[in-house]
């Protein structure tokens, strides 16, 4: 986590615009989902929907209340996503495991449907695709490549710190208690229903803000199709591959899912040359990535975090 802060402040705009900014946005989404799935043990397939709620809420707030400064808009958008999360999390009071996952699918489809159906949400744009507002805070523009990265980094660092505090607080321990044994948690006095909804709310807040970063800092446009079920799966895989129940896991997982394919593509293009059919290259890349995922999960089902910890432990052991 700390390493992220010292990512060298030199580099091409490609590094910032196409690698680091989307990496940060999806890592943040993974972090949010990890609170819910990794810590509280509640499986959700609606992460992309909460990203969409956050992004569209921020778009509408900045469109209709332009006096609000951008940080306030983003915070309010997070709150809207949190509200959506609490509502979407209501079935969690009765459902568990796969059944809960299926019920969150309803959220996923409902949000996509609403964004498609209610023209007001996208300012009655005929094509349904809208342009994100400019990234300006207190007169300072974050419009260039490095600015977009630093802006995202600041938001992600802030929320990561908040999440770090949360998981060490009594509430954080309640989340884990529910995950590990719901009945036991109830007997020891954890207010299960309240804590579950809180988990949905907090998780969706972070995922919603991640949606704002994705749309405002990276793509600069919003369209419902960008927040489909594939995106929800992508975030879930980030969490699983990175490691459930760890904050670092989201960053490692996002690195694996977002950055590694790009590096593979560059390596492939550098080895095979420009003339090589890009479709075939893409297929090869998918095969390599698939093999890597299987290899990582066989070596370490607890994800990259555990793999890394073991490697560090071994190095220490050797040094000692």
């Amino acid at each position: 986590m700390i390493a992220l802060g010292i990512v060298p402040l030199v580099g091409t705009s490609y590094l910032y615009e196409a690698i680091l900014t989307p990496f940060l946005a999806l890592a943040l989404a993974g972090l949010g989902l990890n609170l819910l799935t990794g810590y509280a043990g509640l499986l959700s397939l609606g992460s992309a929907a909460f990203m969409a709620v956050g992004a569209y809420a921020a778009f509408n707030l900045s469109l209709r209340l332009p006096i609000l400064p951008l940080p306030v808009t983003i915070f309010a958008a997070g709150l809207v996503a949190a509200l959506a999360g609490v509502i979407g999390g209501l079935p969690a009071l009765r459902l568990r495991g796969f059944y809960l996952a299926v019920s969150t699918l309803a959220v996923q489809f409902f949000v996509a449907w609403a964004l498609n159906r209610i023209g007001w949400l996208s300012n009655d744009s005929p094509s349904g695709i809208v342009t994100a507002p400019r990234l300006v805070v207190a007169g300072i523009s974050f419009e260039d490549a490095r600015g977009r990265y630093l802006f995202s980094l600041a938001v992600v660092a802030l929320l990561t710190f908040a999440a770090w505090r949360l998981v060490r607080s009594p509430t954080g321990r309640d989340l884990v208690a529910i995950r590990d044994h719901e009945t036991a948690a109830r007997i020891t006095g954890v207010r299960v229903a309240r804590t579950k909804l809180l988990a949905f709310g907090l998780s969706s807040f972070i995922v919603g803000v991640a949606g704002v970063l994705w749309a405002f800092a990276y793509l600069r446009t919003l369209e419902p199709a960008g927040f489909n079920l594939d995106r929800s799966f992508q975030i879930l895989f980030i969490v699983i591959i990175g490691g459930l129940g760890t904050l670092r896991g989201a960053f490692l997982g996002a690195g694996f899912i977002v950055v590694l394919p790009l590096i593979l593509a560059r390596l492939g293009a550098a080895i095979l040359g420009d003339g090589f059919d890009s479709g075939t290259l893409e297929m090869c890349q998918r095969i390599v990535l698939g093999i890597l995922i299987v290899a990582v999960l066989i070596r370490e089902p607890a994800g990259l975090t555990a793999l890394l910890d073991r490697a560090v432990g071994r190095l220490r052991g050797r040094a000692a």
Binding site: V7, T12, L15, I19, G255, L262, I263, A270
Partner: protein
């Protein structure tokens, strides 16, 4: 991770390297995923034409054409990644993403980088107004003029536009932003011509349309317009056959007009009519030359040679023609060298290919003409209609001109709102035209002399 990131960054640094007198086309292609049929055909045709110009003419006035591809799978974030990766290549002429979503995400970026963005037959309707969108070119057709063209054709089928009065037209549209984009314009045209319009949504992906076609059966429309995509199109044709709606009264839009839409429907597609800006088939001299000079030496881009001359392939070739001629026209003005993106933009804004010029390019019958100006970035593309005979498309109409004049105020209202929202001052096209009028005359002479 950090080491890996740095390694990636170093690789990027190595990818550049400037060479003299080359014009580059970065391609955000999609050869994988659900849109692959369109992507392989379109980008295949585009590359085939660039290849033809290089091997036959040695480039455009000696300037070689180069290209590089990045796979997007039609996904916006991948398109943006490819843009950021390829934008530092030297001598970029224009971007041609063939994706509305990617195009939208690029508008700010290409405007800042001063490179043209070509969205042939699709894209943002109000970018037709070049005063507000100086670098965006929805060449030949935008969703509104497409709709107007379809209604004009239905007018000829009914025996005159005035005969549309009292008729019923059902529009079966894909449940997506793309599908819904033309709802207001159909309503408006229905008012203008006095027909009744019923717009029926098919939820994505559209592999189940029983209830929609039962509705159509109840409404008994005179025509059904199919505004579909992908699997929705063959399913619509098959369901129409099952519910007894005559297939020759179904008219497909520009994303429902390919072989890939008709062939899977089998028998049910026989007689289906669809709009197009470019005829399909291999009989045009330019396609013949591509077969002889590109495919016979084994440099063709399509894996399946049977797709030469298909709708998407010919659209790619046409896109190649328009890009190359824009470069040629800009060279006439600025010199026969590698041009900047802004200079190529000038070329696109003066892309005026009349029927004689089109014939000289070996494309007579493939497409009609184009007339792009500073204010009109669409360029008055004509449309034609083709009918599926069970194995191939056959052109069944003249070249029809959409009613641009009535669409222009709607487009300007939208672009003016965009300009206001983004704090832009529209360009003064008259003043700009006047400023380089002298230079342009000589440019046109040059260019037409060169093309011979």
């Amino acid at each position: 991770m950090r080491a890996a990131l740095l390694a990636g960054a170093t690789l990027l640094g190595l990818a550049g390297g400037a060479r003299a007198d080359e014009q580059h086309f970065p391609l955000q292609s999609y050869r994988v995923g659900p849109y692959a049929a369109g992507g392989t055909g379109f980008f295949g045709g585009f590359i085939d034409y660039l290849n033809l110009i290089n091997s036959r003419d040695g480039g455009v006035n000696g300037v070689k054409l180069t290209w590089s591809e990045g796979e997007t799978q039609y996904e916006v974030e991948r398109g943006v990644e490819v843009y950021e990766r390829l934008k530092s290549r030297p001598g970029i002429a224009a971007w041609n993403p063939l994706s509305v979503g990617i195009a939208y995400a690029m508008i700010d970026r290409i405007t800042a980088d001063k490179v043209p963005l070509i969205t042939i037959n699709h894209g943002r309707t109000d970018s037709t107004d070049g005063r507000v969108f100086p670098y965006v070119f929805p060449l030949l057709l935008n969703p509104y003029s497409e709709t107007s063209g379809i209604v004009a054709y239905l007018g000829t089928r009914a025996g005159g536009l005035d005969k549309l009065k009292g008729k019923t037209i059902a529009v079966l549209y894909h449940g997506s932003p793309y599908g819904k984009e033309t709802i207001p314009i159909y309503e408006k045209l229905a008012k203008t011509y006095g027909f009744k319009v019923e717009q029926i949504e098919v939820p994505h992906p559209g592999n189940e349309q029983q209830s929609q076609w039962l509705t159509i059966r109840r409404l008994r429309p005179d025509f059904v317009v199919l505004r579909g995509w992908g699997v929705m199109n063959p399913v619509a044709l098959k369901t129409a056959q099952k519910t007894g709606f005559p297939v020759d009264h179904i008219v497909g839009n520009v994303w429902s007009n390919s072989e890939e839409d008709a062939i899977p429907a089998g028998d049910a597609a026989k007689g289906y009519v669809a709009i197009t800006t470019q005829a399909s088939g291999t009989e045009y001299p330019v396609i013949q030359e591509i077969v002889r000079k590109v495919y016979e030496p084994g440099n063709g881009n399509l894996a399946d040679k049977k797709r030469i001359g298909s709708v998407y392939h010919n659209l790619g070739v046409l896109n190649g023609i328009l890009n190359v001629e824009a470069v040629r026209i800009a060279q006439g003005r600025f010199g026969k060298r590698t041009l900047t993106g802004d200079e190529v933009r000038w070329g696109f804004e003066h892309l005026r290919l009349d029927e004689a010029w089109v014939a000289e390019l070996g494309a007579k019958g493939l497409f009609h003409s184009i007339n792009v100006t500073c204010a009109n970035h669409e360029g008055e593309g004509r449309v034609t209609f083709q009918q599926w005979d069970g194995t191939k498309w056959k052109v069944v109409s003249d070249w029809i001109a959409p009613d641009w004049a009535s669409l222009r105020p709607i487009i300007e209202a939208s672009s003016t709102a965009y300009a206001k929202e983004h704090g832009l001052t529209p360009r003064d096209c008259a003043a700009e035209e006047q400023a380089d009028a002298g230079a342009r005359n000589t440019a046109a002479e040059h260019a037409s002399a060169e093309s011979r």
